[in-house]
Amino acid sequence: MITSNRTDAQRRTDDIQIFNQELQRLEAERVLQLDPAQRAAIHASHQILLAAFARDFDIDRDAHARQLSLGMRIASFLGAAALAASVFFLFYQFWGWFTTPVQVLTLITAASATFVITFWIQHKDSSGYFAKLAALVAFACFVLNMVMLGQIFNITPSDKALLPWAALALLLAYALDLRLLLVAGLMCLISFVAARVGTWSGMYWLDFGERPENFFPAAIALFVVPQLFDHRRFAGFAPTFRIVALLALFLPMLLLANWGAGSYLPLSFKVTESLYQITGFVGTALAIWYGVRRQLNDVVNTSVTLFVIFLYTKMFDWWWELMPKYLFFLTLGLTAVLLLFILKRLRATNAYGPNREQGALR
């Protein structure tokens, strides 16, 4: 197994632990007995491997370390959000007392300096948590840079600002293996494409959200990206692309299934809503089928969730007023049980197996 990223290294570490535990059990049950030479060779090989993983990828060597890692990730995210807010309000508090050249210089310096510091921290910190925190702050500073520049010089708001934001977010995401910034970059890209699609129909770009169909082209394009570009070196990136694409496709569809007035289609609102309800059901079912066929757990999980949401909103429409409440919730519960049977059957046929790309989300 080629170890090119932290996820693969962590998986191998977990496999080594499981192997050692199972070996102990087999020896205790006298099924297998290794001789001292074999035991020493295995132990030495594992120790070298684990030391290399700890040095290169800062893996969690046991369950306790894994729990601490989770805590560190949460702390890193909250810290980044708080620091980004602090930078914003700090500038807000003092910018009015600076001359225009000083304001511009401060904004550019903040964006550039935080970007450089991010890479300096990455060089010093093997765990990556501090570098990821710094990356989020650097991205926030860049967004602040452009927003404030627009305010200072009364620049007309433009969707073109989304492109450099997406570019920097994706640059940092790939450099630091940071899925949160990948999501931020993808959302900027989706928004840009949706705004451009909207302007082709003559509308003002900021109103792109008022026509949810504007999101469909970007969603379809994003879904295809992992097929075209190999992301095995970046753990979890391919599933992230697919999940964001599915949400960008089906959440607007869900909205249109309940709000036909937001559609471009020259049909009555009721017909539009019915059309998108059917499309939502069929689309999520097809996505589930595709995910099962290609062994993409992320696609299956996301599509099942969206299918259930479509189903529940439809059931609410049909029966909330008609049924007594206990009967309504009983129906929902029985539907969930039915879905469980179906998914269990899928798992039993081994079609819902390990993720084909081994890029499961952390």
């Binding site: 009015g96 990455q122 520049l149 009364n154 007309t156 708001p157 003559g202 008022e210 007035a261």
Partner: protein, 286 residues
């Protein structure tokens, strides 16, 4: 990835990111210099009636910057016979306000501004579908203290019944309300800017800006009169540079002190550049 490769990748990413940050800032600043270069497209001398300070609430109290809001209006059409006999019209319908319907934005004008002829109808889905049409980005003409303001003033005088409300409206129209009105629109293109400027050559009274209009309907009692509404001007918040803030010391106030705001007296020359983006060039405290 080997250590050497990692170092090379990190260095390349660092350089790419710095170039991106610098490049975007340079691009934005070049655009600003382009907009403000040469002779301004127009320059209006506005007072505290047209440039209003922000209300201070919540986190805005910590904002040390100052932006003034451009208060523009749209002249309301003359009332129908029914409206003249309605107390509601006297109370709520008379003020030519922000984001209003415009008499000059009729169906033909909307089609000329790029709205689909086929959409200028309530059939077959009625008003709800019609009303869902999104605004279009267009060029708008702002007129300062011109015929539109005089018409609004004349309306206030004409329909003054001597009541407290009517007298206040008249006093406000004479001394407090904005004299800046949106009076025309055209497609968003360079050719339209030239054509509008030929129609409105006085650059100290007429400014061309970018904004949005959307179709709407009026006269609910009769049903189906299609008209348009000016919904927004794209840039209507003007940042005040530090050097010019002295004239606007009284502009920033809380909601409770709104009367105090209106007693502040100042003038500012607002220039509109080649990209039709505004900036303040001079200020006077009166």
């Amino acid at each position: 990835m080997s250590g050497r490769t990692m170092k090379w990748f990190r260095k390349r990413t660092l350089i790419t990111g710095l170039l991106l940050i610098m490049g975007v800032n340079i691009f934005a600043l070049v655009g600003v210099f382009y907009n403000r270069g040469g002779i301004p497209e127009s320059a209006l001398r506005l007072s505290e009636r047209e440039l209003v300070g922000p209300y201070i609430w919540g986190s805005h109290s910590e904002n040390s910057g100052l932006s003034l809001k451009l208060m523009w209006r749209v002249l309301r059409p003359e009332p129908t016979e029914k409206e003249k006999n309605s107390e509601d019209w006297y109370r709520y319908g008379r003020y030519s306000g922000y984001q209003g319907e415009a008499d000059w934005l009729n169906q033909e004008k909307l089609i000329a501004l790029g709205f689909n002829d086929g959409e200028m109808t309530f059939q077959p889905y009625g008003r709800s579908r019609f009303g869902r049409q999104l605004p279009h980005d267009v060029l708008l003409v702002l007129e300062l203290d011109g015929a539109a303001y005089q018409a609004a003033l004349a309306q206030a005088i004409k329909y003054n019944r001597g009541t407290t409300g009517d007298l206040k409206l008249l006093a406000d129209e004479q001394t407090r309300n904005s004299r800046l009105f949106v009076i025309d629109a055209a497609l968003n293109s360079d050719a339209s800017i030239t054509a509008l400027r030929m129609r409105y050559p006085d650059r100290s009274r007429y400014a061309i800006v970018r904004g949005q209009i959307r179709p709407t309907w009026c006269c609910a009692d009769t049903g189906n009169k299609i008209s348009g509404m000016v919904s927004k001007i794209n840039v209507d918040n003007l940042h005040v540079p530090l050097a010019m803030r002295g004239a606007f010391d009284d502009a920033k106030t809380s909601f409770e002190e709104s009367e105090k705001t209106r007693q502040a007296h100042y003038e500012a020359v607002v220039a509109f550049g080649r990209r039709l983006e505004p900036w303040i060039t001079a200020t006077t405290r009166k």
